[in-house]
Amino acid sequence: MDTKILIAVDELCRYYGHHLAVDAISFELAQGEVLGFLGPNGAGKSTTMQMISGNLAPSGGRIAINGIDLLDRPRLAKAEIGYLPEQPPVYPDLTVREYLAYCARLHRVGKTHRGGAISRALRRCGLHGVETRLIGNLSKGYQQRVGIAQAILHNPAVVILDEPTVGLDPNQIRDIRELIRELGQSHGIILSTHILPEVQATCTRVQIIHRGRLVFAESMQALQQRLTGKALVLETQSAVDITKLQQIAGVSAVEPLASRRARLLFDADNPAAAVAACVAAHDWGLVELALDRQSLEQVFVELTCNEDGAAQAAAA
């Protein structure tokens, strides 16, 4: 498939006074990708998204939306973006339909397409039935959905969603994730969130940002492989003889974890069958033998906490 680069961000920087909030971030987003943006609070996620949506001027670097430079031709570039900020930008005094009609006019949706665009957005975000109610009277979850409807209304090439599932109940979260996956097939999506399973459920690529710097950027597939580490965890009923385990072909190292637990590292093929046979031969009583999966959470914590410690140590 011919993938179009929808967002190209190059060496993007942003200062707040003397504080460097975003430090030379570069990445690209192609059509059909859902990019998950992760990071602790204050890492620079929202700042980056505000810059891509044109709400904040970058201190340095370039942003191109669908090949159009955001700083040189902001109007053309912004026409390709749908943006949902952290707090949905909805007017409490308007009804859902009035609000979406206004957004459609702002985004230059032609008069003839306006009705169709609005009803499509209403349907996709599950807003049928509340379209004549005042937004101020809706619950937080519905307001959030109105915000999402606003972002996808004009069928933009890029959809930027800053924490889209905040305040939604589990059913709504599932609907929204489904919607994001569906949108991701034809659009490019950037999504920021604190909920790690959400990233694993919806995204095709993951980026972790920490202290304004991109510390991790990999596709979901590469991440899965990385998460499925080259290690086995073994638990037995009676104590094992570590030297015997080390002799098994394919096992490169054994780390005892507890008295009856051990971690076996391997290089090439999974030696689980040989390990099981060894345990059975010595009658140690197999309790558990499993691949040691690293969770995304562990990766996240590793990347964002260790550095904290290192930085604090450096500062001390």
Partner: protein, 250 residues
């Protein structure tokens, strides 16, 4: 896009009870003033009839009314303009406008136009009072129209100052008070001008009220028109610059 924003702003004003109550209260107070003025004219009519070059009904009733309208608007205009940008910033809805393919000047001009349309609506309701006199008498139409035009121009500067002040703060009340202060200062700026000859000319030129005088006398002077348009343009440009600068400083 400018008109989309302007019509939204205009209709938004009618969604709040504030605009309705201001309209109602203003109408009642000015109607009272108008009627008492008509009453006085009726009482003096017999004596005026015998005088040479006596003031007509336009001078006696309409001019004082329009003079007062200018001052009363000075008091209420800030309450109408205060929410234009401060509310958007407080509710964090401004990003909707900024991330839409709309330029900053469209946003500011749209808001300004919406507010100005609302002012014109109020002015039209007020103009209905002197116009009702046509039922029983003849008015100096030129004078009346010049007066209304002068007020409309005055209101462009009120709207522009109010919109600019609203971009400065997230608190609508602060925006209202600061635009009221700015307008009042521009209104009275020439009151102290008598002692210094060279200064008084400049201060008199800067005064918002001063330029209204000739319109009230039925004079249409391009100097005065230019003054109001310049004041409006200045504050609108300041508002655009202010929003642009907010994108830089965050």
């Amino acid at each position: 896009m400018l008109f989309a924003i302007a019509s939204r702003e205009f209709r938004n004003l009618f969604l709040s009870p504030l605009a309705w109550s201001i309209m109602a209260i203003l109408q009642v107070i000015l109607a009272y003033l108008f009627l008492s003025q008509v009453d006085r004219y009726m009482a003096f009519q017999a004596r005026l009839g015998g005088m040479e070059g006596a003031p007509g009904v336009t001078d006696f009733v309409v001019s004082p009314l329009l003079q007062t309208v200018g001052f009363v608007f000075l008091l209420v205009a800030p309450a109408i303009t205060m929410r234009t940008f401060s509310d958007e910033r407080r509710n964090r809805t401004l990003s909707l406008l900024i991330s839409a393919p709309v330029s900053m000047s469209d946003i500011v001009l749209g808001k300004f136009l919406g507010v100005f349309l609302f002012f014109l609506t109020m002015l039209a309701m007020i103009a209905a009072m002197p116009l009702s006199l046509y039922a029983g008498t003849e008015l100096d139409t030129g004078k009346l129209l010049a007066g209304l035009l002068g007020l409309a121009l005055l209101l462009t500067s009120f709207a522009a100052v109010g919109v600019f002040m609203s971009t400065l703060t997230e608190q609508p009340v602060v925006a209202a008070i600061s635009s009221f202060g700015m307008l009042l200062l521009l209104w009275i700026i020439d009151w102290s001008g008598d002692s210094h000859q060279e200064m008084s000319g400049l201060l008199a030129y800067l005064s918002l009220q001063n330029h209204l005088g000739s319109f009230m006398k039925g004079l249409f002077s391009t100097t005065d028109v230019a003054y109001y348009l310049l004041v409006s343009a200045l504050f609108l440009i300041l508002a655009i610059r202010r929003l642009d600068q907010q994108r830089l400083t965050g």
